[in-house]
């Protein structure tokens, strides 16, 4: 694809992998964020222009498809291109992460970025030179994935959802501007799912001992407000739907004081056989009470919406 250019290259470290033996989801997003910085430089937004209390690009929405596992020792490359740029200050980009050893595509990232003021929230129109560079770079890109089957309810009754995380945003998670990058959001969703599983009577250790793991296939993320260093945050979660193999979870990161939604994410996930590295039906991974709870929780989440 002529519109894609190299924006990332590296290797998967053992400390980036989780108990399921593969690269944890938060590090896919971390590597995609770095790739976006390389793209920004192509548009004239080099690091020296972005330091200090000046406007910058912030992610507004992320769609991420996890297509193949990456394991410790794997090498990867990321290519990024521009789908479109709007004069009001948004930019739609596509990135593709490939296992460089096998040539297999491991992840798809479709991201909307917005040019914002130094407060990291107020939308601004693009600087003229950046707009012109983005228009010139827009090219032939791989097809975008179809919309996810489930969407996050826009105004949910948060209090009726499960409290699955409570904590605060640490300075070491943030950039120099005190804003948490996508990785920090994903790391919390990753913690939250364990507590949602607990609410569904799913013990991850028991699952592991029986030879099963869980994996995310698809993320649909909306960043509504910046998450800042020192901020107290909760996550409220629910199950949107459950089929034979696939289930959809929704999480909301909310400000612990104001209750405002900071981020929402819908996750498409499944259970898999840890030895065969293949998906299994939910009933096979969750015999007994847990399987039955899925449908009940999904109905409860829908009613909260």
């Amino acid at each position: 694809m002529s519109g894609l250019f190299i924006t990332g290259r590296g290797a998967i470290n053992a400390w980036e992998c989780d108990q399921w033996g593969h690269l944890n989801v938060q590090f896919y997003l971390a590597k995609a964020s770095d790739a976006q910085a390389l793209l920004a430089a192509r548009l004239g937004l080099v690091p020296s222009r972005l330091r200090g209390p000046v406007p910058c690009m912030m992610p507004v929405a992320d769609r991420t498809l996890f297509k193949r596992e990456l394991r410790a020792g794997d090498i990867y490359a990321i290519r990024t291109g521009i789908r479109g740029v709007a004069t009001d200050g948004t930019l739609d980009i596509a990135s593709r992460m490939v296992n460089q050893d096998t040539g297999v595509e491991s992840a798809v990232f479709e991201t909307r970025l917005r040019w914002v003021a130094a407060d990291r929230h107020t939308a601004l129109p693009w600087p003229e030179d950046v707009l012109a560079a983005a228009q010139a770079l827009a090219g032939d890109l791989p097809e975008a994935p179809p919309p996810m089957a489930q969407t996050a309810p826009a105004a949910p009754d948060i209090a009726t959802l499960e409290l699955t995380y409570r904590g605060s945003v640490e300075p070491w998670e943030c950039g120099a501007d005190g804003i948490a990058p996508p990785r920090a959001h994903i790391a919390r969703f990753n913690d939250a799912i364990t507590h949602l599983f607990n609410a569904m009577k799913i013990d991850r250790n028991s699952l592991f001992r029986r030879g099963f793991g869980s994996a995310a296939l698809d993320y649909d993320i909306e960043y509504r407000r910046p998450m800042r260093s020192g901020q107290g945050v909760d996550i409220r979660s629910g199950l949107l739907a459950a089929g034979e193999k696939i289930f959809h979870v929704v999480h909301y990161v909310v400000d612990a004081v104001s209750g405002e939604i900071i981020t929402s994410i819908v996750v498409t996930a499944l259970f898999f056989d840890l030895a065969a590295r293949r998906s299994v039906p939910i009933r096979q991974a969750l015999p007994g009470e847990a399987g039955g709870l899925l449908a009940a929780l999904a109905a409860r989440t829908r009613s909260a919406a």
């Binding site: 990332g8 290259r9 470290n13 690091p47 050893d101 070491w172 950039g175 120099a176």
Partner: protein, 149 residues
């Protein structure tokens, strides 16, 4: 064996960004993270001579670092975009020496150069082992010349 004419002797082995987390109280990237980026780059330069992730898993052998020389030439700040290029300096029956050069993309300044001396290791016996013949041949065919770095 002659080197692939399409592939330069110095290959791009890392492309990324300095994280705030990697910076210390002097306001620049701490030395440990230069080495971390050399480590990431190492897997790519090894793959360029046939020591791919699949090779390491199947053959249960890989180069292990035994000595490293580093020249820190310029500092890197949070947000800086970095590129590493790497190649093979020396190759013998059990030993490979790799060269790495880290560049700041915005200014094209070289921030660091490093030589990493390795011994090929049997990952089960945890002892040195001869390099695979094809790997050694490719490494020798891709040795950096004096002007390449």
């Amino acid at each position: 064996m002659s080197p692939d004419k399409e592939e330069p002797l110095l290959v791009e082995t890392y492309l990324g960004r300095v994280s705030q987390l990697e910076c210390d109280h002097l306001g620049h990237m701490n030395v440990q993270f230069y080495v971390a980026k050399v480590s990431d780059a190492a897997w790519h330069v090894m793959a360029s001579i046939g020591i791919t992730p699949a090779f390491i898993r199947e053959r249960r052998q890989a180069p292990a670092a035994v000595k490293q020389e580093i020249a820190y030439l310029k500092e890197a700040l949070a947000g800086d975009l970095l590129r590493m290029e790497s190649g093979v300096l020396e190759a013998s029956e059990r030993k490979l020496t790799f060269f790495h050069r880290l560049t700041k993309i915005e200014t094209a300044q070289v921030l660091m150069t490093s030589k990493v001396f390795t011994v090929n290791m049997d990952l089960d016996a945890r002892r040195s082992a001869p390099l695979d013949a094809a790997v050694l041949a490719k490494a020798r065919a891709r040795l950096l010349t004096e002007d390449a770095p």
